[in-house]
């Protein structure tokens, strides 16, 4: 779980080209959108594509997937749940 969270941070930084942001600077519980990393709808598009490319997870409905995008921790447990399923 911890390693998945770290891996996600690295991937998010790389995908969105967040220059100057280090993985350890991202709090596991900080919101991804609106505050915290302050990502927007364009970032969401890139993240949805990243999840598919890197984890084979297809978000069909973003409303249903919304809780997963709350924070790094939420996203990591979402991916784990998908993997277990």
């Amino acid at each position: 779980m911890e390693s998945l969270a770290n891996e996600l941070k690295v991937r998010i930084i790389k995908t969105l080209q967040l220059e100057g942001v280090q993985p350890e600077q991202i709090d596991d519980d900080a919101p991804l959108f609106g505050a915290g990393l302050d990502l927007d709808s364009i970032d969401a598009l890139e993240l949805v594509a990243m999840l598919e490319n890197s984890y084979g997870i297809v978000i069909k409905d973003l409303e249903a997937g919304r809780p997963a995008f709350q924070s790094i921790r939420a996203l990591a447990s979402f991916i784990q749940a998908k993997r277990a399923a």
Partner: protein, 323 residues
């Protein structure tokens, strides 16, 4: 990222053609029995009616002020009528083409090589077009490109068009919904990965991410999702339009392929603004050929027509030579 000022969903935003299925079948029947010219005549009273009664007259006049300047009141009315007549003719042409009556029309597509070249890379291609001319005619131009075409954000709900499409057994066209959710990207990216074409409208955001750009003496919001998709899929993006020329001739316009690549995060918004500005310039130059073939009857600008000339975009979206 300004939202469009209109509060209620706009009828042309839903892509729903007034009249629905019975209207379309009426016109197809008239077309079969009496031919194209008579069918055009039938649209004249409809255009007169709409040029007075349509809720889109104000938006249409605002557009006309931007392209034709200040003209006397009677000419304003006349232009609105001509514009709606042109729209009616486009719907008839589209219906006729869907019904397999291509014999009435001719097509030329000298600039299609931009699309061929882009597809030749084997990474699919995004085609960004606008409410200009007749996308069904443009589809005709593209049917001989032996590649499935995924159409999104066009006449989305339109069951009529869908039914007609399947009737004309052109399974090469696939209509994909555009809901404004980032999840819309998944089937589009999959299509690009298969080397297919994804066609989108560049002059209406439908709630998807957009950026402001100078356009016809003002500022308007243009969707930029296509550029992000192209960047993710590493796919070329070609801006394409088509216009009807006299005698039922449809001409295809293409611009050199772009290869959008998102820069570092803090530069991204400016980059996308430039992409939107490039598209707006291409649209503007195409519309100047025949302003009455823009069928985006919609309060498109962020402010009313101003007398000043907007500054051109300082830096354009990068072109293929840079890669």
């Amino acid at each position: 990222m300004a939202e469009n000022p209109s509060k209620t969903p706009h009828w042309s935003g839903t892509g729903k053609l007034r009249g629905g299925r019975s209207g379309i079948w009426f016109f197809i029947t008239v077309l079969r029995v009496l031919g194209l010219r008579v069918t055009y005549l039938l649209i004249v009273p409809v255009a007169v009616y709409f040029s007075f009664m349509s809720p889109d007259v104000a938006a249409t006049m605002d557009y006309h002020r931007r392209v034709f300047g200040n003209v006397p009141w009677w000419k304003r009315r006349w232009l609105v009528f001509r514009h709606f007549l042109s729209f009616g003719r486009a719907i008839i042409d589209r219906t006729a083409i869907l019904a397999g009556k291509q014999k009435y029309f001719s097509f030329s597509f000298e600039e299609e090589h931009h699309v061929h070249k882009a597809l030749g890379l084997g990474r699919g291609a995004l085609l960004v077009t606008a409410h200009v001319g007749n996308w069904e005619a443009a589809g005709q131009l593209l049917t001989h490109l032996d590649v499935p075409i995924n159409v999104t954000g066009f006449d989305n709900e339109s069951a009529d068009i869908r039914a007609l499409l399947s009737q004309s057994s052109r399974a090469k066209f696939r209509l994909l919904p555009l809901t404004g959710s980032p999840a819309d990207a998944i089937p589009l990216l999959a299509a690009l990965r298969r080397g297919e074409i994804v066609a989108m409208l560049g002059d209406r955001a439908y709630g998807s991410p957009s950026k402001e750009a100078p356009f016809l003496n003002g500022t308007a919001s243009f969707p930029i999702g296509a550029y992000v998709l192209a960047s993710i899929a590493n796919a070329p993006l070609v801006t394409v339009f088509n216009l009807r020329e006299p005698g039922g001739h449809y001409r295809f316009f293409g611009f050199p392929a772009q290869f959008p690549k998102m820069p570092a995060h803090h530069l991204r918004d400016d980059y996308l603004k430039n992409c939107a500005a490039t598209f707006a310039q291409n649209l503007e130059s195409t519309l100047k050929r025949d302003p009455l073939q823009w069928y985006n009857f919609f309060p498109f600008w962020n402010e009313p027509a101003a007398p000043t000339i907007p500054k051109p975009a300082s830096e354009l979206c990068p072109n293929p030579s840079s890669r």
